[in-house]
């Protein structure tokens, strides 16, 4: 169980390298990062700087080449693929840049996908999905397909999906990149409110400096190296 003193994420000297044409490309070079239990961190950097790699490692999608990664007290550094899949089902939420809702499922069913693929709680999951849709102002749109929703509504469904498994850490990958400034701000306010209400940590990957005002802390990353 997460305690107030236990960080949601602790990355220590994490390296990620890829072999390429006989040499190695460093995607992440000795990243050390701690994110508090209800802290919202903006990760800012240009394209190819290692933002996505860092998020992928924190979210258990990629394994680090070296260093240690602890999420909500769970050391995932040496996890195998199966263990990482289970870890993602239980500990992490994702909001993707291109939203990526399942096009033939309604807003409510898109939230329930997480349960279908993971815990399979059925009734409690349905209640949670309805509650989340209500909180996100989508109760009336629960039965609509993604194609029938606006960009902002789709993004809110994606946020709901990320919160369905009651994660300790949510990773937002450029959550406002496809939205205009006003809608982007509204979505960021919603993200902040949802995270703070739940006491859930978040990393928001962005290269839009305006987003950072909604975050508790901003960390820069360039060429795989974390900066201030």
């Amino acid at each position: 169980m997460l305690t107030s003193t236990q960080p949601a994420l602790e990355m220590t000297d994490v390296h990620k390298t890829y072999p390429m044409a006989g040499s190695e490309v460093v995607a992440l070079g000795g990243a050390t990062l701690s994110v508090g239990s209800d802290e919202i961190v903006a990760l800012v950097g240009p394209s190819g700087s290692g933002k996505t790699t860092l998020c992928s490692i924190a979210g258990g999608i990629l394994s680090a080449s070296s260093g240690s990664v602890i999420v909500n007290g769970e050391d995932i550094t040496a996890y195998e693929a199966k263990q990482l899949t289970k870890f993602r089902q239980e500990q992490v939420g994702f909001v993707f840049q291109t939203v990526n809702l399942v096009p033939f499922l309604t807003a409510r069913e898109n939230l329930l996908v997480v349960d279908e693929m993971g815990r399979r709680e059925r009734a409690p999951a349905r209640r949670r999905a309805d509650r989340l849709l209500g909180e996100l102002g989508l109760a009336e749109r629960a039965k609509n397909l993604p194609g029938e929703l606006s960009g902002g509504e789709r993004q809110r469904v994606a946020i709901g999906r990320a919160l369905m498994n009651e994660p300790s850490l949510v990773l937002f990958d450029e959550p406002t990149s496809s939205l205009d400034t006003e809608l982007g701000s509204q979505v960021m306010e919603l993200i902040r409110m949802e995270m703070k209400t739940r006491g859930t940590a978040a990393i928001v990957v962005t290269h839009d400096e305006r987003i950072t005002q909604f975050c508790d802390r901003t960390i820069g990353i360039v060429d795989g190296i974390l900066g201030p």
Partner: protein, 369 residues
């Protein structure tokens, strides 16, 4: 799995083309299977209908009824050593003149003399009359007609119909042993048989022994110079049957292979199209096995729908075709077997996509790629 079914329900047009192609393949498979069964039935139906455990031929005949001769002494030897019903069996293939048809418009018939039970055929009719295969209806034969058989124009009256018990593609006429011998001796003097001699003997012994065991026992009792075969063995011994079956089975095998390729390609393309979606699902915790099972469920449902539509279509074709015009025989067993083969091909076809699903990297869901 539920998600896979929801996709089929909400986006049926995505699966329409593949279902249509598979339905056509299924119709082809079931129709060819029906033709094979019909041809085999036309060649072997009469033998298949014999309710007997063993059939005894003279060894030199190579299980050909027309060449075989079995003397009464052999029958006595079998009857004395085995508590079984032993009956005589013989056939003669002739042309039959049908009342109202032209003198050269002959119906091909196989005239059977029998002393055993035959499935779907009543006990032998009165002397001089016959139970006729309903395929003769195509030749204009009616109950009560007097057919003139062979060059001697031996008269036989049609007493009633029996269904599909043909032999060598010829409609059967089932007569008592004495009538058969008379027809044989009058029209095939080279193959004439004296009283008590038959072309083969049937040995019926329902009970605890298997047909193979009965055949082995009968073989021992009949002694050298005779062979005792089970009914399936006797069917396989009919010239051309095995070759016919093998040829059709190869065609059916290729058809199933086509179904497998169609399904494999369709779901491989669908998997490529869904790569981004699968990456997202994997990122939120979906296992590769869960995603693959979704594909399998979709392929099985799609194939089952195609097989069901094809079954109805083939049954309709069968009903529309007049009996005896083409040798199509549609049986529930054939339809179920074809559907089963298609479902197996569907599951196997999906396996083409398994490697691709396993290789989808959830990391590609991040970074907008």
């Amino acid at each position: 799995m539920r998600i896979a079914l929801l996709e089929m329900r909400r986006q049926p047009s995505k699966f329409a083309a593949a279902t249509l192609i598979l339905t056509l393949v299924a119709v082809l498979l079931m129709f060819l299977g029906g033709l094979l069964d019909g041809l085999i039935r036309n060649s072997t139906g009469a033998i298949e209908a014999l309710e007997t455990e063993a059939i005894v031929f003279s060894e030199s005949s190579q299980a050909s009824l027309l060449r075989s001769r079995v003397e009464p002494s052999t029958r006595t030897a079998i009857e004395s050593g085995l508590d079984a019903d032993v009956g005589g069996l013989g056939v003669v293939q002739l042309g039959a003149r049908v009342p109202g048809n032209g003198p050269r418009d002959l119906a091909n018939v196989a005239v059977w003399g029998y002393q055993t039970s035959v499935s779907g055929v009543p006990s032998p009719p009165a002397s001089g009359s016959a139970w006729a295969d309903e395929n003769l209806k195509v030749d204009g034969v009616q109950v009560g007609d007097e057919l003139l058989l062979g060059p001697s124009r031996t008269p036989i009256v049609v007493a009633g119909w029996v269904s599909s018990a043909s032999y060598n593609g010829q409609a059967s006429l089932w007569v008592d042993a004495d009538t058969w011998r008379m027809v044989l001796n009058e029209n095939r003097p080279d193959g004439a048989l004296t009283e008590g001699v038959f072309q083969a003997l049937t040995v019926s012994m329902p009970g605890t022994m298997t047909a193979t065991e009965v055949a082995e026992t009968v073989q021992n009792l009949a002694g050298a110079g005779f062979i005792a075969l089970t009914v399936p063995e006797a069917i396989d011994a009919i010239p051309g049957v095995t070759q016919q079956r093998n040829t059709f089975n190869q065609i059916l095998g290729v058809t199933v292979l086509i179904a497998l390729v169609v399904i494999g390609l369709f779901f491989a393309l669908l998997t490529v199209e869904r790569t981004g979606l699968y990456a997202v699902l994997k990122a939120v915790g979906a296992k590769s096995s869960t995603i693959f099972m979704g594909l399998v469920v979709q392929s099985v449902v799609l194939t089952a729908v195609a097989a069901a539509v094809a079954s109805v279509a083939v049954i309709a074709i069968d009903a529309a075709i007049p009996p005896g015009s083409i040798p199509l025989f549609v049986s529930p067993q054939r339809l179920i077997m074809s559907a089963g083969q298609l479902v197996a091909a569907a599951v196997l076809g999906c396996a083409f996509s398994l490697r691709r699903i396993l290789r989808i990297d959830p990391a590609t869901a991040l970074g907008g790629s």
